[in-house]
């Protein structure tokens, strides 16, 4: 059996099992399944898809296997913006704060990465790490000043998928999720260009790709996506880093195939992690802890095997 077939079958099977357990595990009536578990499932799958998708795009575009929103400081910037609006009492505007934080960080990091008018990939990573530290310090400061909101801040820093939706918040979320899906589809149609760009800017330019513009568009739209996910689910690490690598292990070539599989695998992986987070202890654990605990050993195994 070919590797990619095996992967598809495994993923479909695991996905089905996780969804069934997630929705019907432990016995629950129809109201709970439809009104509480299903919205949480949608939020989780959407978040996992977005994180893994962005990870796969960044890794290719920056030709760096470590690239993901967290490393580039965008997650922290986004969390800072979203938390700031949250503690000031505008909880409905948190996605907006997340987007502004993400875009501002990206703008800053982007300009620090320019050198002599051209784009320098290694400077981008350094700038990202610095921006990440800066905004983490900012979050610590908010945490110190607004002690009674420590829980919402911790939820944002460690991932929290247990958001309680009111009807209007849910409709608002669906609109944003729809917008995010459109962005994910748009990113899919940039796959070929990304493949070519990973061969170097000069080469990509010579076959007629406007590299600078494509990069700018991708960065802007992905920061919108990050802003939305961070404001609802907080910072969840490792999904964007690990999932694309796992997918490439089974499906080695072509962003056009790696990307959609990353979306699917990211959604299912995060759902699996949330299932564990909800059930492993009597108290619900932060999902970011689980993604790290599950993801790290798996990643090490994959690396050694290679």
């Amino acid at each position: 059996m070919k590797r990619n077939h095996l992967f598809a079958i495994l993923l479909a099977f695991a996905g089905l099992l996780v969804v069934l357990l997630y929705l019907f595990g432990g016995g629950a009536d129809g109201n709970i399944v439809l009104q509480l578990r299903l919205p949480r499932l949608i939020l989780t799958v959407f978040t996992g898809m977005a994180l893994a998708g962005i990870g796969s795009v960044y890794q290719l575009m920056l030709a760096n296997p470590l690239a993901e929103p967290y490393i580039l400081g965008i997650s922290s910037g986004s969390a800072f913006g979203s938390i700031l609006l949250g503690v000031l009492g505008f909880s409905l505007l948190m996605p907006l704060g997340g987007f502004i934080g993400a875009t501002a960080t990206l703008f800053l990091v982007w300009h620090l990465a320019q050198r002599k008018g051209s784009f320098d990939r290694s400077r981008l990573l350094i700038a990202g790490v610095i921006a990440g530290m800066f905004f983490s310090a900012g979050i610590s400061l908010i945490m110190y000043l607004f002690q009674k909101d420590t829980m919402i801040i911790l939820g944002t820093l460690m991932g929290n998928l247990g958001h309680v939706f009111t009807r209007s918040e849910w409709q608002f979320f669906l609109i944003l999720a729809g917008l995010s899906l459109l962005i994910m589809v748009w990113l899919y149609f940039r796959s070929t260009a990304l493949d070519i760009m990973s061969g170097g800017d000069v080469y990509a330019g010579s076959v007629g790709i406007d590299v600078a513009r494509t990069r700018k568009e991708i960065f802007l739209l992905t920061s919108l996506l990050i802003g939305i996910t961070v404001s609802y689910a907080g910072i969840i690490g490792f999904v964007g880093l690990i999932i694309p690598h796992v997918v490439r292990f089974f499906i080695p070539s072509g962003q056009k195939r790696v990307y959609p599989w990353s979306l699917a695998a990211g959604g299912i992986f995060l759902l699996f992690c949330d299932l564990i987070a909800k059930n492993i202890a009597a108290i619900e654990l932060p999902v970011g802890v689980i993604t790290a605990a599950v993801g790290c050993p798996f990643f090490i195994w994959l690396m050694l095997k290679k």
Partner: protein, 278 residues
């Protein structure tokens, strides 16, 4: 340079004068710094307001405390300000303030830590504090009336059907309290049945699913959400408290009456009881 030294000298003289004046006015009396709002309330209830020279920002009852020097927040006390007030005693709470109490004790101050966690401990602690601050008589009176009040309340509600109560202290993530917590015991003693009897900690994260499954008759909501917002939560529509709109906020029952272990606990119990059995 000269001007600066004159200024400094003047300032020093003023400081000295101020110090003498303060000492003169309080001669013979204890000087107490209180770092927890619960203890400040207890001491005030024992006619101890004039003994207090410094409090933290959270100490807001009785309102007279607002005139006292502030030495920081409950969780971030400025040690220098405490020392500058030259207190004879410092009163601290447990938990976050334990480390701070140890630090203050190192400087040679007399530090007393009290952290009432049970209703029945409260009268005993009040008596103890009373003897520390030489207010034994007042303490005995307050403690007796509390003991009597608690016993009355419990016998009144013993045989009544208990409404199920959900107390929401945080919204994102959802947090509630266990029966082990002080406020959990207050709810039970006022005739309610707290839906989360056992939790990992006194105050802990809970899931929306568990609230819906528990079907509370009453919701006490201290998580700063509006009535409309809680009424329109997805999946909460079948909960009796939502259907009957039996949801109470800060304006219906002052959180300090039931979250703080103070002599006002009795008033808190009575008000809760009225909400539970209208």
């Amino acid at each position: 340079m000269k001007r600066i030294s004159t200024l400094l000298g003047g300032f020093l003289v003023l400081l000295l004068l101020g110090g003498c004046w303060k000492n003169a006015s309080n001669e013979g009396d204890l000087r107490i710094v209180v770092l927890s709002p619960e203890l400040a309330e207890i001491i005030a209830s024992l006619d101890g307001v004039e003994l207090m020279v410094g409090v933290t920002r959270e100490c807001d009852y009785p309102p007279e405390l607002a005139e006292l020097a502030q030495v920081g927040n409950f969780g971030a006390v400025d040690m220098e300000k405490v020392l500058a007030l030259k207190p004879d005693m410092v009163f601290t709470a447990g938990l976050e303030q334990e480390a701070l109490a140890a630090e203050l004790a190192k400087t040679g101050l007399r530090v007393h830590t009290f952290h009432p966690r049970k209703l029945d401990d409260l009268p005993n602690i009040i008596v103890e504090i009373g003897s520390l601050i030489q207010r034994e008589k007042q303490a005995a009176t307050v403690a007796d009336s509390l003991r009597k009040g608690f016993a009355e309340m419990r016998s009144q509600t013993a045989d009544l059907p208990k409404p199920k109560v959900y107390l929401e202290i945080y919204r994102d993530p959802l947090m509630s309290v266990s029966d082990e917590s002080y406020v959990g015991e207050v709810i039970e003693s006022a005739g309610g049945d707290n839906i989360f009897s056992v939790l990992e900690r006194d105050y802990a994260r809970i899931s929306a699913e568990d609230v819906v499954k528990a079907n509370p008759d009453i919701i006490i909501c201290y998580s700063e959400v509006s009535l409309e917002s809680i009424l329109s939560r997805k999946g909460w529509q079948d909960i009796p408290a939502i259907q009957n709109k039996r949801i109470y906020f800060e304006k219906d029952i002052d959180p300090d009456l039931i979250l703080r272990a103070t002599p006002r606990a009795l008033e808190g119990l009575r008000r809760l009881n009225r909400l539970f059995y209208p």
